[in-house]
């Protein structure tokens, strides 16, 4: 565990010192510019996830196969996840060492890891499955878990700005 922590911290130091970390930090408009991409992708990701999950829950697009809708929005969902990861990493790299000691950021990353794993395994299987293969109860549970995990990511992200990192928690 200590080895992993040390590795993560080294990575954070490297990010802080990298040309993009530097460049975005030193520019007045690059940070907000990247943030706008993060927000737009957030909108699209949220929209597609809510649609698929509402459909799994049986509250929207009734009488239509969930799998067809899930397939239709999939490129936009995966694309917005990609934009979120890239823009999020760039924002992170401007103050990576500070983020390392921020509990809200740690919480967000934990939820993010779980949400990504879940989205590309179980949730993918359930939402793309042909209708009779998975019962309605399981579909609903799968949808709720997806919403919960992603809301966890979002709330963790919101909290980052409000958490002040004590200087003692950072650094070597």
């Amino acid at each position: 565990m200590t080895a992993v922590k040390a590795l993560l911290l080294t990575f954070c130091h490297w990010c802080d010192a990298s040309f993009f970390g530097h460049g975005i930090r030193d520019s007045t408009w690059l940070f907000p510019f990247v943030e706008i991409f993060h927000l737009l992708a957030l909108g699209l990701l949220g929209g597609t996830l809510v649609l698929v999950n509402m459909s799994l829950l049986g509250v929207r697009f009734r009488g239509e196969p969930v799998s067809a809708l899930a397939r239709d929005v999939r490129p936009w969902m995966v694309g917005s996840i990609a934009v979120m990861l890239i823009s999020g990493f760039l924002l992170f790299s401007t103050e990576a060492v500070k983020m390392y000691g921020n509990w809200a950021f740690q919480l967000k990353m934990t939820f993010l890891l779980l949400a990504l794993l879940y989205t590309f395994t179980i949730h993918r299987k359930v939402s793309l499955a042909e209708e009779p293969r998975i019962g309605p109860l399981w579909r609903r549970l799968a949808a709720l878990l997806s919403l919960l995990l992603w809301i966890g990511v979002a709330l963790g992200g919101r909290a980052i700005g409000y958490v002040t990192t004590p200087p003692s928690a950072v650094g070597h």
């Binding site: 809510v50 239709d72 490129p75």
Partner: protein
Amino acid sequence: MSFLAWLHDTQLSVTMRDSIWAEPIVETIHVLTLTVFLGFVLLIDLRLLGLALKGRRMSRLFEELNPGLFGGFAVMVVTGLLLFCGDPLSFFSTIFFKVKMIMIVLAGVNVLVFNATIGRTLARWDLALRPPLAARATGLVSLVLWVAIVAAGRAIAYALPPP
């Protein structure tokens, strides 16, 4: 200006300013609702442009998304107004706030234009993979406006004096 000064002194405004929790909670609701409202707007714009949800019945899409769109918009307006109440004079003093409000009105006008023109013949192109030019144009206008509205919204946070 006197209205803003009056608003600034109301209890609501004082609470939004002084409470530790009011601003973060309201802003979190504003941003979380963005995922439904903006997401649905973008999906409809992309469908109008013939880029996403191809071959899906446009009328069905409106039917399914409208509750989320209207409900989401209502929440965005209420939470947005509450955030504005927290510091109306500073908000109003930034160019980004004014531009954002103007663009939201324009986005509304764009919806009205759609409903009054090409939207009337929706039945004729309901399933079109590539909707008619007028429909694509309103989709593009909406897309550009909402991207700019998000950008202006973000810019307000940077233009406001630090708390």
